[in-house]
């Protein structure tokens, strides 16, 4: 097991998000990285480990190091899809524990909104999939949603309730891209994209960058704002959707239990969950696989409003990819919101007395997965 007790997340920042036509992805990463270092009470000169991947650069870690004028002694450009940065957090903990670096920068940015208004992805399509007109990744998630509906009776109304909850949270977040509340009927009335997914079942398509700083505990400047990592795990089920063993079970069924076991905690202990919501079906399957509810019961959990501000498990408290921002890869933004919540810095969307929370990311069409359990520093001491 990767030792996590030697590190803390000490800095978090985002660039401008939404429409940022005046900055490149490298530019957004640089702005976020500098701000994250400042948030940590450190400077970029302290960074000696770098973790980053984007679809824009062949080797993002060298592009960003050059851009920032830093020469770290540890580099990790692992691309694991949208959850890469949650995996980077785990890898940074391992690198720090191994003495390979002391202060790690994790960064991501995309200008996809300003580029073409379409997903920018480096993902290739197999010869066996290319001829059939599947619109990546919408149709792939639609196939997953359709099978979940078939197996568990999940309805379009329940899928829509995930988007409704996201907007409810976003209405409390001044930085969110889509803040106007919507109803289930609004989602169902939005254009069908790839059945059963409507336009409002699909995430936003925005520009934006983010960065976090992970440091060895003896480099922490302000211990009261340092967030600890209690458990972390990564896994995958498939690369090609034809090879996904069961369309309704994701790799979260592996990473959730593993992360909870390492943390010595259970789903019931979580004060919130930040779940990758590229499409409304995602958080439903993730909530089930992570162990929060039995298989087939998450859709009702969302429809009953239990993830909303007054609910028993706040989910995606900044509005998530459906309403806050979604610059192609969401993982780092999920982490950033979890850290803000645990620090008590989420403003009107603050979960009262949030002490422990879960972050779960996916890559591809529910293909890869990375989970982290984060906590305020006093939790483990207690």
């Amino acid at each position: 097991m990767i030792p996590l007790e030697q590190v803390a997340i000490v800095g978090v920042a985002e660039s401008e998000i939404g429409k940022v036509p005046h900055q490149t992805p490298a530019g957004m990463m640089a702005v976020a990285a500098r701000a994250a270092a400042a948030d940590a009470g450190l400077s970029l000169d302290d960074v000696d480990g770098i973790f980053a991947t984007t679809p824009y650069h062949g080797v993002t870690v060298t592009t960003l190091s050059e851009y920032l004028g830093i020469r770290p002694r540890y580099y990790d450009g692992t691309d694991f899809g949208g959850c890469s940065f949650i995996l980077h957090l785990r890898h940074a903990a391992a690198a720090i524990a191994a003495g390979m670096c002391d202060v790690a920068l994790i960064a991501y940015a995309s200008s996809q909104r300003s580029d073409r208004g379409r997903l920018v992805s480096s993902s290739e399509t197999s010869a066996y999939e290319l001829p059939y007109g599947a619109v990546y990744p919408i149709t792939h998630n639609a196939l997953i949603a359709a099978r979940h509906m078939h197996d568990y009776g999940t309805t379009s109304e329940q899928l829509a309730s995930v988007a409704v909850a996201a907007r409810t949270w976003a209405s409390r977040n001044p930085r969110a891209y889509a803040r106007e509340p919507i109803t289930v009927d609004d989602v169902l009335a939005s254009p069908m994209m790839s059945s059963p997914l409507h336009r409002l079942d699909c995430c936003l398509l925005t520009d934006g960058g983010a960065a976090i700083i992970v440091a060895r505990r003896d480099r922490v400047v302000d211990t009261s704002r340092a967030i600890h990592v209690l458990g972390a795990a990564e896994s995958f089920t498939h690369r090609n959707i034809v090879a996904m063993p069961d369309l309704t079970t994701s790799a979260a069924a592996v990473t959730g239990p593993a992360a909870f076991e390492q943390a010595g905690l259970r789903p019931d202990d979580m004060d919130f969950a930040q779940l990758y919501d590229a499409f409304t079906i995602g958080p439903i399957i993730e909530l089930e696989d992570l162990g929060f509810v039995p298989k087939g019961e998450a859709a009702a959990f969302f429809a009953e409003g239990r993830t909303q501000p007054a609910g028993d498990l706040p989910v995606n408290t900044n509005g998530g990819g459906l309403a806050y921002t979604h610059p192609g890869m969401l993982g780092l933004f999920l982490l950033a919101e979890a850290v803000r919540q645990l620090r008590g810095e989420s403003g009107e969307a603050q979960v009262p007395d949030a002490r422990v929370g879960l972050v779960h990311g996916i890559g591809g069409a529910l293909a890869s997965a990375a989970t982290a359990v984060l906590a305020r520093p006093e939790v483990r001491a207690a």
Partner: protein, 144 residues
């Protein structure tokens, strides 16, 4: 098929080629590992079950059921954009492996998960002077 825009033509390389060559002959070729007996799809040089060499090719019966499907209503994909709505499905063959295809010769609204389907072949076009044929599926019992 649209006369102005072409649907995507796969570029099969290496071990991907026998699948498409078989389709040209009207055969649906999948792999069976001679060592462990498992069926393999997509085609590989190494069996993902036992990691031995080169699963052998065999002709599938060509029948299966719809495991899941989506009716694509909005598409910017060349050749498909002007054919919406169309059905993209995952089909589980009787041999157990799963592949992607369109469900053709049926109204999209009539497709169901679990529906029995059989293979049919579509001439997709030519690539570098080579005829490219792809498997498609249609409901069992639809007119030939």
């Amino acid at each position: 098929m649209s006369g102005t825009t072409r649907k995507p033509i796969p570029h099969a390389r290496g071990e991907e080629r026998p699948f498409f060559e078989a389709a040209t002959d009207g055969r649906l070729a999948i792999q069976r590992c001679p060592e462990c007996g498992n069926m393999v799809f997509f085609p590989r040089t190494v069996c993902p079950h036992c990691r031995r060499d080169t699963p052998e090719w065999m002709d599938a019966a060509g029948t299966g059921t719809v495991y899941s499907f989506s009716v694509v209503v909005r598409s910017a994909i060349s050749g498909y954009a002007d054919e919406v709505p169309y059905v993209v499905a995952l089909v589980t063959l009787d041999e157990g492996v799963r592949l992607m295809a369109n469900i053709v010769n049926v109204a999209p609204d009539d497709v169901r998960i679990g529906m029995p389907v059989r293979v049919t072949f579509e001439h997709r076009g030519d690539r570098a002077g080579e005829e490219i044929v792809i498997p498609q599926f249609e409901p069992v019992g639809s007119a030939p």
